[in-house]
């Protein structure tokens, strides 16, 4: 920023306002278009072709939304907080630790998905027992993994 003239700095501010505002409007329009279907459309048991297309669209939609937000974040950090003008040591000591979040996001979302599968399994087993009382001993047939969940 030091090498920019005062007039250039003022222009950069207006540019920032326009870019952040425009991206926010695009994001909101996309969100309204997709009507919040993102997570609920995942993990269909029986997938027809049209559902495959839906899932692909939902995936692309999610990626686009996240990319747009990351771009906004980058714009704020580099142009408003001037991290780009700091020396590289400072810059990387702030940015590098953030990479840990990549692991955290993958690990915990995977974990959340696994909870969901466990719940669905238990729900399914419960309905089976109610529907067919003659197989009331069927819990003995549960595999080892399922028994752990029940405990």
């Amino acid at each position: 920023m030091g090498h920019l003239s005062y007039e250039e700095q003022k222009k950069l501010v207006i540019k920032g306002l326009k870019i952040l505002g425009a991206i926010t409007i695009i994001e909101v329009l996309l969100a309204l278009l997709f009507n919040g279907h993102i997570i609920s459309s995942f993990h269909k048991d029986h997938m027809s072709d049209s559902q495959m297309v839906t899932m692909a669209l939902v995936g692309i939609y999610g990626l686009v939304m996240i990319s747009l937000s990351l771009y906004k974040a980058r714009f704020i950090v580099y142009n408003f907080m001037h991290l780009g003008s700091e020396v590289s040591g400072l810059r990387w000591s702030v940015l590098m630790p953030m990479l840990l979040l990549v692991w955290a996001i993958i690990a915990f979302f995977q974990e959340g998905n696994s909870w969901k599968k466990s719940r669905e399994k238990i729900k399914k087993m419960n309905t089976e027992q109610i529907d067919s009382p003659q197989h009331s001993s069927s819990y003995l047939e549960y595999d080892e993994e399922t028994s752990k969940i029940l405990i």
């Binding site: 005062y6 700095q9 003022k10 501010v13 920032g16 306002l17 952040l20 505002g21 926010t24 409007i25 994001e27 909101v28 996309l30 969100a31 309204l32 009507n35 919040g36 279907h37 993102i38 997570i39 609920s40 459309s41 999610g62 939304m65 996240i66 937000s69 906004k72 974040a73 704020i76 950090v77 408003f80 907080m81 700091e86 020396v87 590289s88 040591g89 400072l90 000591s93 702030v94 630790p97 953030m98 979040l101 955290a104 996001i105 915990f108 979302f109 974990e111 959340g112 998905n113 909870w115 969901k116 719940r119 669905e120």
Partner: protein, 288 residues
């Protein structure tokens, strides 16, 4: 030796072997600014922890409330459905206050006291407006729609179908057209104004299953109020510090320091960070 180090520092060669020998700040930032950066780094991890917890719980749930339905109210027009309009306005207010903060820092670097005070004042106005909007949003959710940290009347249909009862929970009269819904449509379970009872309307899906509207994932309310509350608390403390620093600037405290209003730059970093966090809170709660 010391004159050599000073000369290197002045020319900005940070690869010099004497850089870490002491006497010059290797990161070319003051202690206060450096520590503000590292505080923001830790704060980013705190927020990331909350948002990842939100993501994990959301992934663990087969259904989730649809933001377009949860956030469709606007002030003064209680009957109008305007999905995401109010929260988009809130986002613009925060972006605008970030922009005015950049202007305050720029005026500080030019040692322009009046400019600093003027732009900081606008920033404070923006922060206060955002907080007022958030207060209204919380009031709507808690008082009008009865969402609390342990009750969540918002959810979504997992299958297409039609209702068997009208909006007041009475069976449809003969000849009335039943209201239909699609898979993934969001809904809100209303409370009867007089009795305070929940109206869980009966429905029938396309596959013939009958049921009543069920409450949504219980964690939603707690996650929403805790995370937006924690962000709102950051905005609130930001407004307090901005106010203190604006008054200091107005009284000439920073003129004597002759360091280009560095205090304004530091609170500016914090304020942009609050805007930065909102980008992600906005993404996960209101857009996805």
């Amino acid at each position: 030796m010391s004159s050599e180090a000073t000369a290197v520092h002045a020319h900005g060669h940070d690869t010099d072997e004497h850089l870490w020998d002491g006497g010059t700040p290797p990161f070319k930032a003051s202690y206060g600014k450096l520590m503000m950066w590292y505080f923001l780094l830790t704060d980013a991890f705190t927020f990331a922890g909350f948002l990842i917890a939100y993501g994990a719980l959301r992934f663990s749930s087969p259904i989730w409330p649809v933001p377009d339905v949860v956030f469709e109210k606007i002030p003064f027009f209680p009957e109008v459905k305007a999905p995401l309009v109010f929260v988009t306005f809130m986002t613009f207010v925060l972006i605008a206050s970030s922009v005015t903060m950049v202007r305050a820092v720029q005026e500080g670097q030019r040692e322009n006291k009046n400019g600093v005070v003027f732009w900081m004042f606008l920033t404070i106005l923006g922060g206060a407006t955002f907080l007022s909007c958030q207060a209204w949003e919380w009031k709507t959710l808690i008082v009008d729609e009865h969402t609390t940290i342990h009750t969540n009347p918002f959810s979504a249909h997992t299958e297409a179908g039609h209702f068997l009862e009208d909006a007041h929970g009475h069976p449809y009269e003969a000849g009335a057209t039943a209201e239909t819904f699609r898979e993934g449509d969001g809904y809100l379970i209303h409370q009867d104004h007089e009795t305070g009872e929940w109206i869980q309307r009966a429905y029938e899906t396309e596959s013939g299953t009958k049921g009543r509207l069920q409450f949504g994932p219980k964690a939603f309310g707690a996650l929403f109020f805790f995370i937006t509350g924690f962000h709102g608390f950051h905005v609130f403390s930001g407004v307090c510090f901005l106010l203190i620093i604006m008054l200091n600037a107005a009284s000439g405290t920073y003129v004597k320091r002759k360091n280009g209003y560095e205090m304004v730059e530091k609170i500016g970093l914090y304020w942009h960070f609050v805007d930065l966090v909102w980008v992600f809170v906005f993404l996960v709660f209101y857009l996805l």
